[in-house]
Amino acid sequence: MRYQELAVLAEFTYTIPALSRGYADQTLYVNVGHDQIVARPVSDDMKERFVGGRGFDLWLLWHAVNDATRWDSPENEIVISSGPCGGTSQYPGSGKSIAATISPLTDIVIDSNAGGHFGPYLKFAGWDAIELQGLAERDVIVTIDASAGRGGEGRVRIIEVPDDCPVDTHVLGHWINSTFAASESDRQLMAFVSTGSGSRATRMGCLNFSLYDRKRRDLRYKQAGRGGIGTVFRHKRIRAVIVHTTPFGADTNGPADPARIARTGADMRQEITRWDPVQNRMRSRGTSYLVQIMNDYDLLPVKNFQFGTHEDAPQISGDVWEQRFTQNMPDGCWYGCTLACAHAVDNYRVQTGPYAGGCVIVDGPEYETIAGVGSNCGIFDPAAILEINFYCDTYGIDTISFGTSMAFAMECFEAGVLTEDLTGGIDLSFGNADGALAVLHQMAEGVGFGLILGQGIRRMKQIFVERFDADPCFVDDIGMEAKGLEYSEYMTKESLAQQGGYGLTNKGPQHDEAWLIFMDQVNNQIPTFEDKAEALHYFPMWRTWFGLCGFCKLPWNDVVDPENALSVDPAKVPHHVENYIQIFSGVTGHEVTADDLIRMSERVYNLQRVFNLRLGKGQRDHDRVPYRSQGPVTPAEYLSRQDRYDRQLRDWLGLDPNTMTTEEKLAAHREHRTDQYERLIDAVYARRGWTSNGIPTPDTLRALDLADASILEVVQRYL
């Protein structure tokens, strides 16, 4: 079937603009419920205050929804934006997209970033962001055809999905290519967003962002995994959003000073080429290098975050993945990225499920997936991790939420909370990859125990208590979710700052906001509450900034010139901060300072906090974390680190552990550690300009130029 034969439900034409200083100056609104397509202007105020990316997402979403909107409401939107620097090919890591929506897991706003070509191509097609609203009556595909090039006529369509259109991403991608691309050139200039069958009956659906790999002449995918954005996408009955652009180059983004960008980019590329081979080796093994490091430092989540190390960890370490990944391929997820960490396993033979026997590309696995579906579930078999990774991606299921949820279910199974009678005969002992895969396939089919696991940990806890007679204290302690979002894959028990790095986030425990474990636990750089609060101010704001602009975080600090050691504040990697100042100024024409970048993020960050308040969350109670993230829950956990914990009792509390039972020691630790977390909250709120209940004060909002009446009105409800 060719696309000309498909039923067009709505069509909108526009003149494709040239980009100016990183912006198209318009956003695309598509309502699939009303078959409505509209172009909306981007004001100077919107650019100055919210920059792009996550900032645009939140501002557009703020105006689209109301206080009662939930994830499945028609007015809920999925907004996707790159940012003014997105699509820059001269500086590594400049092709990110940020998606945001009201989450089915958390009932507040979730944002999640992905590589792939969609975000830059969307902007090249003339749109700084796309809003997807409404609930379609039948499955649809949205197409954005800008193949006529700048000045030509572009065309946006809502198309009815024909019966032969697959759902799961890896087969859908081939269908899209055969239907919409007439040539190899078309395939290279097209990108799409999709999910899969697993997002229909679960709350942890992810979005897949495609990229056409010219060397492999095949499609690959990067995931905006967190928070169930794919579930919202599927609920809207959108099968895919496809964008088709024209050939592009270094000046397509319309930078104000291309030479400045080229100079800065050349320096960074040289730095990566020189130092990555002797540092993290991202170019050959990607983020999988972290597995062994985390294991060495007792930070690798093992068996539902009970333990931080395991003797079998070397079986899933970076050395193993380097052997599995196809080498000497240009594995960037956007053009020009010298770090090129988006590796893949080619010619993987699928072992189970509906695609058994097929030969596919498996993207990754990255660290989070290896730790989540691997060590945290007690699975140390690379083949099993690849199988789960492939199916999570093509089914459109977040590997982090799946892994952490499965780890929780496995611990419940071993503790007797779950039995084979309750799982439908599936053995969910730690390490049983067959059991994990069986549940994963059930999630895609919407049957059996997969239906329960797909609801995520917060709802599983409720089900286990109400229907399976579980001890509510036990499942609350070990269920690793906060705000309804499953933890990503780092052990936080010995780092109070990272407990806050997860708990004091806006969206839930995802590491892209603050990652302070080494700074706190190993380096001992931030010993006081005030030190930790300052770090929990600066680093979340700094990391938020990447998501405003279309940048990837990895080139900031995953490779560093050793001369950085001589800088005043090496943890901030000042010479890379300067690079970003140069790139942002070079693209937008606005001269900025490092403080300006932080202020941009503060504004967006506080808007997101107020957004949570508007949706009935966002207060101190919502920033609490499960005790497993703060300290040992069970005697087995205590005994695994007995020397450390006993020493802490002596040093911290002046107790003699030799006179205490294990239960008494556990209780003493719990009382101390939970108190420490409350004191951390106080310090962080004060640093962020929030009340003791976590409410941004009007003065804070005014200082950030966020004194819009609609924002202040929300805050006043809580003061």
Partner: protein, 74 residues
């Protein structure tokens, strides 16, 4: 200073105390601490030691050694 009856030590990151031995180098300390992470910033009594000098830089007794892991990951 260490007393005559206790072996001399060095302090790592203001927290860990390890026994000092004559000729001990920065590289020895990193190995003893099992610090396998490749991006470290090391200072000995306030003076930064670059990575190519780890093996040749001896650490005096009672030294204040800081071994900062740059926050990659996440």
């Amino acid at each position: 200073m260490s007393s005559p009856t206790t072996p001399p030590t060095i302090t790592v990151n203001r927290r860990e105390s390890i026994v000092w031995t004559p000729g001990m180098t920065v590289r020895d300390i990193i190995q003893q601490m099992n610090y396998t992470y490749p991006q470290l910033v090391v200072s000995v009594d306030g003076t930064v030691v670059l990575s190519d000098a780890y093996a040749s830089t001896e650490v005096p007794a009672d030294a204040d050694v800081r071994i900062i892991h740059l926050m990659a990951g996440g």
